[in-house]
Symmetry: C2
Subunit: 229 residues, 2 copies
DNA sequence: CGGCAGCCTATTCGATTGATCAGTCCTTGC
DNA sequence: GCAAGGACTGATCAATCGAATAGGCTGCCG
């Protein structure tokens, strides 16, 4: 356990296309990571078995220990890939909005966050998972991935609040009201389908939800799509 | 497995006080249920082990199979006890508000729900857990416990919306915005402590959060406790 | 063309899981 | 008092977990 083995090539970032007939290690790693993300978010860290991850990825179980060293490193790698997608989406949105007033930028970022939560409910599911245990994995998760996002969003909310452009609520409360309102419908999608008949996996529903969240928290939202059920 | 055994006395509702020196079976059942609720919410159904539940309850592991028939029935019994507490709290609040205008009643019910979520984060944690798997347990959970609560709250929100006393947002969206905004801070309490320094287990923080939720969703809340961080 | 490194599989290990069974202790009813 | 039975424990079961080991296959490089 304490012994550090040499890790596989791990050409993670620059996914070089390898046009050989031999099975590509990058493709395999990608399939394993996608399967791991699904199963870790569905069954939690302890509940997900490496065998089932391997089956869903179409490989054998010892291969997970070949590419990643143990269940824990596989978990971290899967989380990394998920947060990479999120930060990429948010960063490209932000760089495309240079010069726009801060209120509008915040609304568009929030909308982007709602749509990402709808398309990737695994994010909040895994965070919720690890928050319950309050162990070393939530430490890593917060310090590695969540804190930069929180700091940026809390600063943004505080500036808007002080300028009277957002509700006068302490940033921490506003942050959790915002993320909770944005993500809960998609995290609880199976419940929502059974209770209300609304299917959160429908992109139109996600847009409606983004409108609703923005209209409630910022007073201005596109209500065009709203219909009473 | 398919054989149905005779179940223990199960004097669940009317907890008759047994003033004997013998260890009370009801007390033992209660301790097991409390421990099960904690561990099921912390580690999920598959992740929680019956041995650890037994250790936390101060009993041996075979006793869980004596009082409850298998892990699944123990899980259901633990959920029952949690929802019994919630419906009791909400019902007594509602019966004490007969004759009050509906807007005020709704606000006070929402406040009660926020405070319950703060004191019992296991509720949303378990619902989130089971929603991920989308299996038979979420079926049971929705039909047995959640649907009555949802129907009552959705009806209430729809009436208020149509009267112009609540945001004009479809009830399903409003419901998940409300419950998400109310509960997420407490579900993610360990993350919140690390990120912001705010401790959601502090009752004063729970009151602040109830104020914030009400002021954002209904425009009126007691802002007396709000302070910028 | 021969070795060699990279990618992957079959097999198996010790540990741990939920569940069962036999048996003990103690209270209660008669 | 004494049989009956409820409450509980120790020991153990087969199943399954994550991980380790050894070996096979393929395609490139000298």
């Amino acid at each position: 356990m304490g012994t550090v083995r040499e890790r596989p090539p791990a050409r993670s970032t620059t996914r070089t296309v390898r046009a050989t007939s031999r099975p590509s290690a990058d493709d395999t790693r990608g399939r394993i990571l996608a399967a791991a993300l699904d199963l870790f978010s569905e069954r939690s860290f302890e509940g997900a078995t490496t065998r089932e991850i391997a089956v869903r990825a179409g490989v054998t179980q010892p291969l997970l220990n070949y590419h990643f060293h143990g269940k824990e490193e596989l978990w971290r790698a899967a989380i990394d890939s998920l947060f990479d997608r999120l930060t990429t989406v948010l960063d490209t949105r932000l760089t495309g909005l240079r010069g726009v007033d801060e209120r509008t930028v915040t609304e568009l970022v929030v909308r982007e966050f709602v749509l990402f939560s709808a398309a990737n409910p695994q994010l909040h599911r895994i965070i919720t998972q690890e928050c319950k245990a309050d162990g070393p994995r939530i430490d890593w998760l917060v310090e590695t991935h969540i804190r930069p996002l929180y700091d940026a969003m809390a600063d943004r909310l505080r500036r808007l609040s002080e300028a009277g452009l957002a509700p006068a609520v302490p940033p921490a409360h506003l942050y959790y009201i915002l993320t909770g309102a944005a993500a809960t419908m998609f995290v609880l999608a199976p419940e929502c389908r059974r209770l209300s008949g609304v299917d959160p996996s429908d992109p139109a529903v996600a847009e409606q939800h983004a409108d609703a969240v923005l209209s409630l928290l910022f007073g201005t939202g596109n209500h065009s799509g709203h219909k009473e059920l």
